[in-house]
Each structure stands twice: as C-alpha cells, then as structure tokens.
C-alpha cells in the first residue's frame, strides 16, 4: 500500500483495530447462531435488520463507523501544526485502473527524489511536501484533483499524468492558473506539439521520438515489409504515423490492423498478419493489451516466421509475460543496466530496496520530474513560474539526475527532454531476474526528435 500523506498516529491505529476486532467478534457469533430465515425480506421492512436477523446490528456498525471516521477526519489537522511551510508539489497519476503499475512506479521515483532533496536542504531552504492524488484514469477526476491541489493545497508545481488525455486536460488548468507543470509519463505528440504551452515540460519521449529511434534499426535488421498491430486511439495512431513516415521514405510497404482497446483475443488480427507475411510485426499495443497480444503471437508460433518489435515495451510489461514472450526489438526510455555510467548503480540499488526489483524507466521519470523542479527553483532562487519556465528552456540535467551517458536538456522550442532512447532487444532473464533487455543501439534524443517545426509547437509566453 503506497502511503500518501503521512503515517497514521499510533492511537488511531489501535482504536481502529479495536473496533474492527469487536465487529468481527460479533459477526462470528452471529454466523454461528443465525438460522436460515424465510426469504421474505420485503425491502420495506429494513427494520428487521437491526432486530437481529443479521449478525452485526446497525447500531454497532454506526458506532464503529463513527469512531473510524472521527480518526480519519482528525488527521489532516494534525499534520498542519508542524514546522515551517513546506514547498508543495502536486503529483496526479492513475494509481488505480489499468495504468496502476507504471503510475505507482512513478510515485516511488518521485518520493525518493523528495527524500534526497530534503536531506540536501530542500527547495530554497524549505522542505518539499509531495501531495499525491489519484486521477483514477478519468479526466474529470484528474482535472478535479489538479484544481484541488492548486486552489486548496496551494501547490507550487504540478506533475502528471501517465494518461496523455488527462495530461492535456490538466495542462489547460495549469496554464490558466500559471503553475509550472511537468508531464512525467504521457507520450502523445501534442503535449509538446500542437498543444504545447509555456508552463508544460515533458520528461518522457514523444511517440515520434520513440518510433524514429528504432525504425532504421528495424529496417536494417529485418526488412521493409511491416505489419502494424495498432491500438485504435491517439497514442497508437501517432506511433504508427511516426513509423510510417520513415518506412515510406525508405521505400517500404506496410499493412496493419487498428485494434480496439481492451481486445482480449488477437487471433483475427494475427491471422491477417500471417497472411500478409511481413518481415516484422510492429506491436504498438500498450499495457495489458501488449501483454496479451505478445503472448498470443508467441503461442501461435508466429515468432518463428517473423520478427516482432515496436516502440515501447516497458519493464513492468516485460515482467508480466512468460519467458517465451520476452522477445523482440524495442525502445526503452531509460534502462537500469548501464555499466560505466556513474550514479546509475546507486539509483538502481535505491529502487531495488524500495520495490524489490530493478529500477524502471517510470521510476526515473518520477525522479527526474521532482529533481528538475528542485534544481531549477534553487538555481533561480524563486518559485515564480514564468521565470522558472524561461530558465528551464535549454536546462541541462546534471549527471546524478540524468543517469545516462549524454547530458539531456529540455529543448527550448517545445520543452521536450532530449534524453537518450535505448534501442535494444528483449530476452528472458540473464543473471539478474530483471535483466530482460539488452541495449544495442542508444540514440541521442535530438537525433530521434526531429525539428521543432515538425512538432507543430509554438510557445506563447505570458506578458
């Protein structure tokens, strides 16, 4: 369970345990004594419930409930009574729902960054407080939480969301309120393209970057006849468009299927793929869909006939497939095994201590987002968003934050972080249980990203 605000006071925990224990005891007694009654519980007659035909009476429930609620409501006020005013950073991510795994990874990375920065003195001498909110993969909720963080909790910065649609909706709010906003993990192009904004910066790659980084490798290694398995929404379309551009320019041919999100069975699409007989199957699916489609691809024996590859195949997803499906050529936006690069091993060890597994790119996104904010604020000695945004344009990450061979920076024209794209091959674990990917061809961010004009971003600075 990811503890968000603060740990419960011990007293509260004891009281809750006591009440729950009482409830369970009467429940147990009730089940033993209860006899099957007539099935005629007319819904009007709900009074029968408190008359004992159910093991726990309504009164006990109300009492326990009120006690628990009283403790719940007292806790926020206990927090506020401490110390100097912290600098608040709001993080909105889908902690429940289909992206829960990667979202929670981001939170872990962000919290670790907060710890480190607070040990080093915080922002402008004040400690950082990270307020994490769940967007539940729903735009309304994400927007609501963003407003709450800005209006009620008075955060100075906002980080989020993994879901690009929510990220863009949040950006509307943060632009309106003039709050610096770092998109940690949403990939679609418009965030640093047609919908870019002076206060929005992005850590993870755009879909164009990912596709462009690996396309030529796939062409060289396997050939120019591709078949796309593309999820039918903006992310999928833009990745495919990124690939298509380069494939067409190299004179290649392609076919493809637009697959609805959440499809459980990919056989029809794979049947078509086999009929097309490509050299590579480009699997653009994400999350659970990617896991299912790869499993089925391998089960059909298609891996013996064609290669498979694509843009993202995140470590969290590789962990979810059996060994047989750990194949193909993909891009990692950050990878934990970089021998010879300083500071990476420490970060990896720290993540391993917290999560039990190697550090993932998502951990790194959360880490970089918070570190960026702290570094720029401490450098400019201000919390003013426009000033910080100006300073961030072109800002280079120091090695202990970049955790990669080059020094990535936030490009001035579109606010995209030009980090290295690690192109490589997935395989079953070798040595370390998380060593399921080998970097074969790291590509510099600038090379993969194309020009600022191509992204369609025109930043308008406030007066």
């Amino acid at each position: 369970m990811v503890a968000i605000k603060s740990t419960w006071p011990k007293v509260a925990a004891l009281r809750i345990a006591n009440n729950v224990g009482n409830g369970l005891r009467s429940l147990n007694k009730g089940i033993e004594e209860c006899r099957p009654e007539m099935h005629h519980l007319v819904w009007e007659d709900s009074m029968a419930i408190s008359r004992g035909s159910w093991p726990v009476s309504r009164r006990t429930l109300l009492q326990s409930g009120t006690a628990i609620a009283a403790v719940q409501f007292s806790s926020p006020f206990i927090i506020k009574a401490r110390g100097e005013t912290p600098v608040r950073i709001g993080l909105v991510d889908p902690l429940t729902g289909v992206y829960a795994a990667i979202a929670q990874s981001e939170v872990v990375g962000a919290k670790y960054a907060v710890e480190e920065i607070n040990k080093a003195g915080g922002i402008l001498g004040r400690p950082i407080e990270l307020l994490v909110e769940d967007s539940a993969n729903d735009v309304g909720t994400g927007v609501q939480k963003t407003r709450k963080l800005i209006e009620r909790d008075q955060v100075s910065f906002i980080i989020g969301d993994v879901n690009s649609g929510i990220a863009i909706a949040m950006a509307q709010v943060t632009s309106e309120k003039k709050v610096l906003h770092i998109v940690s993990g949403g990939h679609t192009d418009p965030i640093t393209g047609s919908s870019c904004s002076w206060n929005v910066f992005r850590v993870c790659n755009s879909t164009t970057m990912d596709a462009a980084a690996i396309a030529s490798t796939l062409i060289e290694k396997f050939g120019k006849k591709w078949y796309f398995l593309t999820p039918d929404y903006a992310y999928g379309h833009s990745v495919q468009a990124g690939f298509d551009k380069i494939l067409k320019a190299a004179g290649g041919t392609s076919g493809g299927s637009l697959v609805p999100l959440g499809t459980p069975d990919y056989s029809s699409y794979l049947i078509q793929a086999k009929a097309f007989n490509p050299q590579v199957l480009i699997n653009v699916m994400g999350g659970g869909d990617q896991v299912a489609s790869l499993k089925q691809f391998v089960q059909f024996g298609l891996d013996k006939q064609m290669a498979v590859g694509g843009a993202l195949f995140e470590l969290e997803s590789i962990r979810s497939v059996p060994d047989a499906a750990r194949i193909g050529w993909w891009t990692m936006e950050w990878w934990w095994d970089q021998p010879g690069v300083p500071h990476v091993a420490e970060f990896n060890a720290a993540m391993k201590k917290i999560t039990g597994g190697a550090a993932t790119a998502r951990n790194w996104f959360g880490y970089v987002s918070v570190q960026t904010l702290a570094l720029i604020a401490n450098q400019e000695k201000t919390l003013d968003a426009p000033k910080l945004a100006h300073a961030l344009s072109g800002f280079k990450l120091p090695p202990e934050v970049a955790l990669q061979p080059n020094a990535p920076s936030y490009r001035a024209g579109d606010h995209e972080l030009m980090s290295t794209v690690f192109v490589g091959e997935a395989h079953p674990p070798q040595g370390d249980p998380d060593n399921m990917f080998t970097v074969k061809n790291p590509i510099a961010g600038e090379k993969a990203a194309g020009s600022v004009e191509d992204t369609g971003c025109k930043i308008q600075w406030p007066a």
């Binding site: 089940i31 519980l41 419930i49 299927s257 069975d265 029809s268 049947i271 659970g288 299912a292 060994d323």
Partner: protein, 289 residues
Amino acid sequence: MTLLLLFNITNGLIVGAFYVLMALGLSLILNLSNVINFAHGGFLVIGGYIAYTITPYVGFWGALLLAPPLTAIIGLIVERILIRPLYGRDPLYSLLLTFGLAFMIEDGTRFIWGPQGKPVSIPPFLSQPLSNELFFITGYRLFMVVVAMIVVGLLFVLLRYTRLGVRIRAGTLDLETVAALGINVQMLRSLNFAVGIFLAGLSGVLAAGQLGLEPTMGTGLLMPSFIAIIVGGIGSLPGTLVGGLLIGVASGVTAVFFPAASEAVIYVMMAVILLTRPRGLFGEEGMMS
C-alpha cells in the same frame, strides 16, 4: 478470402467457447436468484490469481483442478453473508451490492498481489499450434475448447439428471412452489451460486494463460457475457450457449472486414435481437417481464 473467412469463423467458435463458460455462470445465477452479478468478472480474476499462487506447489494441472473450487468456496461465503439478505428485495440492491463488490475485489487483488501483472506460462506441449496452416488453433486454445465442452456437458448432465439440477430448473420457473414443496431454497440458491462462481473461476484460470493476469482483467469480459445472455434469451441456458458462440463468431468475422467495429458488433447484434425478437433466440415469452 474464403479461407480467411473460414479461419475466422473457426477461430470465432474457439473464442466463443470461452465466452460461453463465463456467460453460463452468470446465467445460472441470474435465472434462479434474479441476481445480476456484476462481480462475476471479479471472481474470474480471483480464480486466475489463486491459480497463479498455487501453481508453484501443484503445477498447472493442479491449479486447473483446485482453483475453481476454491473460488467457488469464496463465492459461497460471499453469497451467505452478502447476497442472501437481498433475496426477495428489489433487484436494484443485488445489482448495487455486486457492483460495490466488484470494486472491492479489484482493489483487493491489487492490494494483495500488487498492480504489476503476473507472468503466467502454460505447459510447453500445449503451446504448439496444430499445424503451420492452422496456426491459430494452438494446443492451448483447443484445450480451452475441450475443457469448456466437458464442463458444459457436465453442467447439462447435472441439471438434467441429478436432484439438485432438477430442483434448480424447477426453481428457475417457480421458486415459491419449490419452497412450498419443502425444499431448502436457501441451500439451493447457495449451491447454484457456487456453481456459477465455479465457472467464473475456471474461466479465470483459462484466461490467465491467454491474457495478462492483472486486477483489471475481468472488467472487459463482463459485458460480452451479458450480451450472450440477452441474445440467447434470458432464462435459457442453451440460449446462452448459442449466444456465446455467436458473439465469438461475429466478433471474429467483423475483425477481418471492419476491425474498429469488432467490439461494437456484438452490441449491434443485441440491438437487432431486441428489436426483432425481444425474448432472445431461445428465450421463453414472459420469462423476465
């Protein structure tokens, strides 16, 4: 093109067999107890996770044999504590309760096993396709169809020839008379619920081999089951069987010509049925008015 079509129809039947398993469980519970079990997908997920947890100890086959009954036991407990108080009440309440239960199951599985998907592998000899031509008929999918056929066969035998089965069928038609005849209706409902959840758990174990095992796995499988029941006819198990197969085929065939609509086509099918023959293909008039 015709070969492609033939492939997809065959494939659709295979996929449909899976939907049949899930829909039958849902149908059983609906017919006898008038309960729309929104938590059915949740029980599917529980079945999958239990199988994942016990596989290191009992192997794939042991998990297949043990996980569904274990899920059924959980179903029994849930029925006894949560659903029994709702019989006789407006169906709204069981709907709401199972809806809330689905939330709790999703969050509970995420809490216990973590949000990370779990890798589930199937025995190697099942991973082979039948032949290079019929590559989509993998050993595992054939296995799923065989298991589904055996289980459905057993279910129909149970309902036709055992006392419990006869009572369940009688109860579906007229529960009051069955109670008046002195039969313990409480136990009947509990056992019926347990059988339904057994089927859900079994679906979960089978699904884990094909899809990713994660807490949100069950939500996308619930709606097709509903549709299978409506298309086949509420109150008719053979109807649900046909409905499930039809859904699989329709979805598979549409994916060839119009992939974007392959999910939506089953809803269109349902709409057509409701407009032309509201009781469903095999439903009886007045079953659910």
